[in-house]
Amino acid sequence: MKLFCSRCRNPLESVVFGVKSSVTLYDMNNGNFLKPVENTSETTNEFLCQECFNKYADCLNELTKDIVKNDISISEIVDGIQYE
């Protein structure tokens, strides 16, 4: 059975990105997960080819750059998590 990219509808081959709230990476040659990207138990609802995933990643990075505030230092965040 052939799988197709959810965005461009081209046949999926080689390396495939499964996308939901996290990303899973598959080797289409043998159906295995590609380490070390964690496999999750949730069902992937979108399979993307490399080109479409790259566009998806670029878009998310661009959108979130403005949202993520840099006025709190990383160490303060990690400390805050630690001592909650």
Binding site: S14, V15, F17, S22, V23, L25, D27, N29, N32, F33, L34, K35, P36, V37, E38, N39, Q50, F53, N54, Y56, A57, L60, N61, T64, K65, V68, I74, S75, I77, V78, I81, Q82
Partner: protein
Amino acid sequence: MFRFTDNIIAQTTLQCNLNCKYCYEGSKIKSSKKQMSVADFKKALDTAIYQRCILGNINNKLIWHFHGGEPFLYDWEDFKECIRYIHRRAKKFPNVTYCVQSNGLCINEEIAKFFAADKCSIGISFDGFSTRERMPEEKTNYLINNLRDLKKSTGVRFSCLSVFSRSNMKNWFTDMVSTSDLFDSFGINVLVPSENNDDLAPTSEEQWKYWLEPCLKSYLSDSPIKERFVNMMVERFFTDVVLHTEDTDIKKTGCFDRICGHGINMINIDPSLNVHNCDKYLEEGTFIKNRYEENLDSYDFLGLEQIKRYGEYCKNIFDLEHKTGCDKCYASNLCLGGCQSYNLSRYNEYKLDTTMCDIYKRVFDFIRVNWIEILKHNYVQATKTILGINPDFIRELENTGYFITIDSDINTIHLYKEK
């Protein structure tokens, strides 16, 4: 950039008290800083924890490798403060830990006691007694005797990492056997050809004769030399061929995987907090100027940039494997394919090392023929969750009086004899 990284090779100092001919670390690296400040260390560690354990999973593994140069030339009080900081973080993020790789010359009683109390084994770079590439023979003897004394007096533990080259290969195995009272484990890095070291790089036949074959044969005894790569191949054979297994637990990857973890599960940081794919061959090779470099503050939402690069890297390797026929090779699960960081810096492309094809098949055939004897003398750990045993192998045990036992708590198999 750390979302999927569980190994950070950190060059806390570029200072070194040796000048090994084949060294790819340390003084050649073009970093504006020669030492990583404690403040920078904390910033780098917290950045990695934030991406790996807060945006990822609180239980994600993260190992900080103190590297160099020579790590024990880093100010000792600063070193201890860094380790204390790691412990502080580990209270909340339980799989954040550290390790050290050293030439051992600076280790004194105070340092040994500290690491013994911390229950952290120190990695020692030791090539054997017969080579002068790292240090003079008398210095090597002094080092080993000193480490033995420290182990006896403090209980500190050591592991051994050797550079395997033509200058030490003939005596490497016997030197490791003679130091098996000192070192808990052994590993090697095979020296690969470069402009300075072409004459020192061992051929594939030499790697078989002086490293692989003697280590494999030692598995047929009760005192094997479990060199890490040979041990990985033995474990993989049993996991993928003898057993039925499921890949439910993502294990650490790095140098020991077909898709090596450079830039994803393994990353290098220099004292100026520049981030590179890998510490290997950073400053050698015609194309080193093309190497991937990023600053710690570079933005990468949820590691998506890391996955993009990794996906492209996987695809390149898969295409190569298809061209060379590696994807159809029966020994492919034991084979590494070569160091891609090295290939990028020397040749500006990914390559598969086909000079070792025959050798890896020999390794596979050896384990296949001797699997029963190996299991009689060793508890072999599977690298995936064990679901069952390949019936072909159960049939081979018929009438031998031996049975396979599986310890599911520690995921190992062994043979026991019916009384």
